[in-house]
């Protein structure tokens, strides 16, 4: 049994299996990662897509099989390491032992990486907020737009409140990653409040939490809907989705008013350099009948059916990712340990043995 556990052949089979599974996950769109492409594959395969689902090939990283193989690899690595440790003790020849030690350090750090990645995944916390400027949210589970928590994460909420004060667009390079967000982070355990501008590469750090600017931003126009008597049916900042298609970014969405059976479609056209007020394309439908389709500025009020519509103000919104990865630095230590081990192994391989080192 020990021979099997430390055999190189088992290692080859396990690494091979993982490689094949990863290649499959690159070919078959994975749910939660490449959602949009799943529909086309489902259409392509028709009803045989059921087999993909049954085998779990559309969520390979979350199937038990994937973790069984990783677990076996961890055992194989541990056994291999122990066995190789014994070999080092009993062998002589410095160069030969240096190579063995390098390889030993490399494989042990692989083990460290695999274990710390899995442990970190189990307890990690990742919450995505979609906030409009001026909006303040508490750290309650339902306040998040989306969360990616580890299965064993014990979510104690109410640790902080976060306010997005302003989304700052860098005018000269108006690209998604030239954006920053001015936020106020208020810890609820009495620590001083933190007011910070965060951007890509510059997150806000508080104890084990990190608040990152979340790469996507967009527009939140204020939609006002009045009935014939002038009383307000709807008034609020509506966060429009940001969709990037064919290399162009569109800010468009629809708002439904169920009682009045109205659907309001809104699209925002930012002013050229993004600083002046944008214009809005608004269309109003009721039961498939389009009553209005026009360009609106913040000053206009338009009527459709017996209602009046206006977009008096607008704000920007962006994603803010709150993350907590307790064991991530162990993973990173594992990276550098592995690379050092392999480099030591390589140097001792390349150095000619004859140079009096035997």
């Amino acid at each position: 049994m020990w021979k099997f556990l430390t055999s190189l052949r088992l290692a080859i089979v396990l690494i091979g299996l993982i490689t094949i599974l990863l290649i499959l996950s690159a070919l078959i769109p994975q749910s939660g990662i490449a959602e949009d492409r799943i529909a086309d594959v489902r259409q392509l395969l028709g009803d045989s897509y059921v087999i993909v689902e049954w085998l779990g090939l559309d969520r390979i990283y979350f199937t038990p099989g994937f973790y069984v193989i990783l677990g076996l690899l961890a055992i194989n690595l541990t056994a291999g390491t122990i066995q190789r440790f014994r070999v080092i003790l009993t062998s002589e020849g410095t160069l030969w032992r240096v190579r063995r030690v390098g390889s030993l350090v490399f494989h042990m750090s692989l083990l460290l990486i695999i274990v710390s990645v899995i442990v970190n995944y189990l307890v990690k916390f990742e919450g995505v907020y979609a906030l409009s400027e001026g909006q303040e949210v508490s750290d309650a589970a339902d306040a998040y737009f989306r969360t990616f928590n580890g299965p064993l994460h014990k979510s104690e909420s109410g640790r902080f409140t976060l306010r997005l004060n302003e989304v700052i667009i860098d005018d000269d390079v108006a690209r998604a990653d030239a954006v920053a967000a001015r936020v106020t982070f208020m810890p609820s355990d009495g620590d001083p409040l933190v007011d910070r501008v965060i951007a890509t590469n510059h997150p806000l750090k508080y104890e084990s939490l990190e608040v990152h600017y979340g790469l996507v931003n967009g527009f939140s126009p204020e939609l006002l809907v009045l009935d014939s008597t002038g009383s307000r049916l709807f008034a609020g900042f509506v966060r429009l989705a940001t969709v990037s298609a064919e290399g162009r970014r569109r800010y468009a969405d629809f708002i439904e008013l169920p009682q009045q059976q109205l659907t309001v479609n809104l699209e925002v056209f930012p002013a050229k350099d993004g600083s002046e007020t944008p214009t809005f394309q608004m269309s109003v439908e009721r039961r498939g009948m389009v009553a209005l389709d026009t360009i609106v500025t913040t000053a206009d009020t338009v009527t459709a059916f017996e209602y009046r519509f206006a977009v008096p103000r607008w704000r920007r919104w962006c994603y803010l990712n709150v993350v907590e990865n307790p064991y991530l630095n162990v993973v990173f230590v594992g990276f550098w340990l592995a690379l050092t081990g392999m480099s030591v192994g390589l140097v001792s391989r390349v150095m000619p043995a004859g140079r009096g080192v035997r």
């Binding site: 990742e126 590469n201 997150p203 192994g345």
Partner: protein, 273 residues
């Protein structure tokens, strides 16, 4: 590209073509002299490509790491540099490498030329130290794998008795020793490993997610595991060297796909993709 860059680019392309042609001549007609020309042509190509990189760096303000075109040119530069080192340290092996390396350089320059060569300004996310580590190790890693693949080609050609003249009838083992191929694999794995590690740390710093199963991350990890597999297969003695060399060539194709092919097929957050 401004005038200086264009001159450098085309000179480097011509020199690599000349190196390929002369080393091909030397191989076919079993003459030694053409190989000497080919050697100096490739040395010239390295010099001129360095001038290209410097001229562009001065003009644009950041090293050629950002666009796909730049990433390819930097890989070619590392390949020429690695070959130059081998050429100086082990003349015979360097000479034998002239044919495959000049072919690869010439083909890559053609592919690079089909890509938009315009330099894009360095956006906020990219202007940080991790870009230089991540991109330079990716390109140098690819170069090391390309050298291993070139040696494998020589080993396979060597077996068919069409290797250069001066190595009378030396068996392929001395021209492209499997031990050297293995060392370049491990060297490539270290560089490629640093690329994946630095990319993951950078992604964590940038947007709080150290691994997002992005297609480029995935294919880079797949390439890394394929080479690790290749090394382990090589270490179980019974494995036929010919298959080891063939797998080497397939593996480098996956690396080139991971680096420059992915964006043809996938939507990826890698801006240069």
């Amino acid at each position: 590209m401004n005038l200086i860059e264009q001159i450098c680019y085309w000179t480097a392309a011509l020199l690599s073509a000349a190196a390929f042609f002369t080393s091909l001549l030397g191989t076919v007609f079993k003459r030694v002299k053409p190989f000497r020309f080919a050697g100096s042509f490739l040395t010239g190509a390295l010099g001129v490509l360095t001038a290209f990189g410097v001229a562009r760096w001065v003009r644009v303000g950041h090293p050629p790491f950002v666009t796909l075109f730049e990433s390819m040119i930097t890989s070619i530069w590392f390949l020429l540099l690695l070959h130059q080192i081998i050429f100086r340290l082990r003349r015979e092996q360097g000479t034998v490498l002239l044919l495959p390396v000049s072919a690869v350089v010439f083909l890559l320059m053609g592919w690079a030329f089909s890509l938009p060569a315009e330099a894009t300004p360095l956006s906020a996310a990219l202007s940080n130290v991790w870009l230089f580590i991540h991109a330079s190790f990716a390109t140098s890693g690819a170069a090391s794998f390309l050298i291993a693949a070139s040696l494998s080609v020589i080993y396979l050609l060597g077996e068919k008795r069409s290797h250069p003249p001066q190595a009378n009838s030396a068996p392929p083992e001395t021209l492209a020793p499997l031990k050297t191929i293995l060392n370049f694999l491990i060297f490539g794995l270290i560089l490629w490993g640093v690329m994946i590690a630095s990319g993951s740390i950078w992604a964590h710093v940038a947007w709080g997610r150290y691994w997002a199963w992005d297609p480029i991350e995935l294919w880079s990890l797949i390439s890394w595991l394929v080479y690790a597999l290749l090394i382990h297969v090589r270490l179980t003695v019974k494995f036929s060297p010919r298959w080891f060399c063939r797998l080497n060539i397939i593996a480098v194709a996956i690396v080139l796909f991971a680096l420059w092919g992915v964006h043809y097929v996938y939507e990826t957050i890698h801006t240069y993709g």
